[in-house]
């Protein structure tokens, strides 16, 4: 049942290889970069918010730290790609701290806590002009100097392919099972020996690393960042919506969600002009109302319904029935 999702994604990513040959315009490639970037971010979010069921609404924190990591380390004279690496490390360290504190909370309190941390980081970045440049912003070095748009497109595709392969592997591993168990019921997970605190933290660290890399790519594409852009609540919600729209906790969900959300945002902008946000909002409301498990989630549960449990589920052997008769007779005496 899961294999069809991997197949669709493989076909999709394979098709992505030929896109630069077919559509040579930078405009289309830029949109597609955004589609793939948010697919990767959605996949990263999905590990925590989908599989482990911990609704994070503060992924902008790791996105922004990755972006600022690239900007600030390269300002110190470190080469851009090594700065990207340091940015990722910094995002992971942030995740370790945020996770250790916020995973003590469950449900909506956890979600609120993640928002709070992201907001704190945004305000810190705004109010430390000597370090981050504050509201004036920070310059980001170009990661690709040669045919930049095309290179960013490839980087986006690669990051998505990596995030997808990682998710596919995790989904079938013990770690993946443990995350899903935590989502369904943390007490049950503990009862089969799952160290829930450690599993959730690992999921967040992996997620933060990918998100931090995504943030660095995004920043480098714009060459210039301000706190209200890369550490904004908008980024957090967009990442979460991409995954939830496609289907949180499904392999294909974030990829599909990003294709739907990012491409429709762009199409609506050209077709509906000023009214595009309205249409965009309506689209999200419609999906949430009619496909609460996301597109992929709803499809799989609709398909799963065809498989019915048999009327007599247990293979009851004869001796038990015989035993039962004698013991019932004994009881009635």
């Amino acid at each position: 049942m899961k294999n069809w999702q991997a197949l669709v994604a493989a076909v999709f990513l394979f098709a992505a290889l030929f896109v630069p040959l077919l559509v040579p315009t930078d405009y289309i490639l830029q949109i597609l970069f955004r589609v793939f970037l948010f697919a990767a971010l959605g996949l990263a979010w999905n590990l925590v918010g989908g599989y482990a069921g911990q609704l994070s609404l503060g992924h902008a924190a790791y996105f922004g730290v990755g972006a600022y990591g690239l900007a600030l380390f390269s300002k110190l004279g470190i080469s851009p790609w090594i700065s990207v690496f340091f940015g990722i490390v910094l995002a992971v360290i942030c995740a370790a701290m945020i996770g250790t504190i916020s995973f003590r909370l469950r449900g909506p309190y956890f979600a609120l806590c993640t928002i709070a941390f992201a907001e704190v980081l945004r305000l810190v970045a705004k109010n430390l002009p000597n370090v981050t440049g504050g509201d004036v912003g920070a310059q980001v070095p170009a990661l690709f100097t040669h045919s930049a748009t095309r290179s960013f497109y490839w980087a986006g595709v690669l990051l998505t392919a990596f995030a997808f392969a990682l998710t596919a592997w995790i989904e079938r591993s013990r770690f993946g099972y443990y995350l899903m168990a935590i989502r369904e019921d943390q007490d049950t997970a503990l009862s089969v020996g799952v160290n829930a605190a450690r599993c959730k933290l690992w999921a967040l660290l992996i997620s933060a690393a990918i998100t931090g890399f995504g943030g660095a790519l995004y920043a480098s594409m714009f060459l210039f960042i301000v706190p209200d852009q890369v550490l904004a609540m908008d980024i957090s919600t967009e990442i979460a919506i991409v995954a939830m729209l496609g289907g949180a906790g499904t392999l294909l969900g974030p990829l599909l969600g990003s294709v739907i959300l990012e491409s429709s945002a762009e199409i609506f902008k050209t077709v509906f002009k000023e009214a595009h946000l309205l249409i965009y909002g309506v689209l999200i409301v419609v999906v949430v109302l009619f496909m609460p498990e996301g597109v992929v989630g709803t499809l799989t549960s609709k398909l799963g319904r065809f498989k019915k449990a048999p009327l007599a589920p247990f293979a009851a052997p004869a001796p038990v029935a015989a035993q039962e008769e004698t013991s019932r007779a004994a009881l009635n005496e």
Binding site: A181, D187, G193, K307, A309, A316, Q323
Partner: protein, 244 residues
């Protein structure tokens, strides 16, 4: 030599004494049932043994080791399995995959976990529905699924909370006959049950009766059910004299 030794444990929740100076022991391979009316403290006692709560006083020893302050996942690791009164399967996964979750405690290999889970499912006569998704299964299946998941962790002791609650009598008895075979696997069982005495009488080697957090009777099932204090706990003091 006892596998589990509970020595004078008490647990308070604010002004309520949920467990009051309870002591008992479970030998390896023994089937013990804890019975008691609603609110007697059965689930609290299970939660104390599995580390969900920690006793305010007294101690719990498992295989010679003090486990009074273990966490729930550590309790599972040292060989204490448990099921919950309210069943909570992973609905999107198949029955087999649900049971593999338990088996993953002893191995990180998918193949080995699958092997162990299949073994447990065979024992519980569930091989026919192994590859179906857990969603949409009825309570009898889900109750067995809970037990299967706990058994797949290869416990030395398994705690079954309200294991037959809500099941039709025929299914309850069928399940009880299966539980009776657990000692063959070298597993001790503690079951918690409110009132399905048919199951208790059939399966239990020993019965412990709790009432308002206090242990009021202990012994073989057929003796315990005739004790006046037990009848009083279930039916009220009016019936004590009638029974006598």
């Amino acid at each position: 030599m006892s596998l589990l030794e509970v020595k004078g444990i008490s647990k308070r929740f604010g002004g309520l004494k949920a467990i009051n100076d309870v002591s008992f022991a479970v030998k390896p391979g023994e089937v013990t049932f804890i019975v008691g009316p609603n609110g007697a403290g059965k689930t609290t006692l299970f939660n104390l043994i599995t580390g969900v709560f920690h006793p305010d006083s007294g101690s719990i020893h498992f295989a010679g080791r003090d486990i009074s302050h273990l966490t729930p996942n550590e309790a599972a690791q040292i060989g204490i399995g448990r099921t919950f009164q309210i069943v909570k399967p992973l609905r999107n996964l198949t029955v087999l995959e649900n049971v593999m979750l338990g088996a993953f405690l002893r191995t990180s290999s998918r193949a080995k976990a699958e092997q162990e889970a299949t073994k447990v499912l065979r024992f519980l006569e569930m091989e026919k529905i192994m590859h179906l998704p857990a969603r949409g299964m009825g309570l009898p299946v889900l109750k067995r699924l809970e037990i299967a998941r706990a058994l797949a962790t290869q416990p030395k002791l398994i705690l079954l909370d309200e294991v037959v609650a809500g099941l039709p009598t025929s299914e309850a008895i069928k399940l009880a006959m299966l539980l009776k075979r657990l000692p063959e696997w070298g597993i001790s069982t503690i079951g918690g049950i409110e009132h399905v005495m048919q199951v208790v009488m059939r399966v239990a080697d020993r019965v412990i009766v709790l009432d308002h957090g206090t242990l009021i009777a202990e012994g073989e099932p057929k003796d315990v059910v005739h004790r006046p204090e037990v009848i009083e706990a279930y039916l009220g003091s009016k019936y004590k004299e009638i029974a006598l």
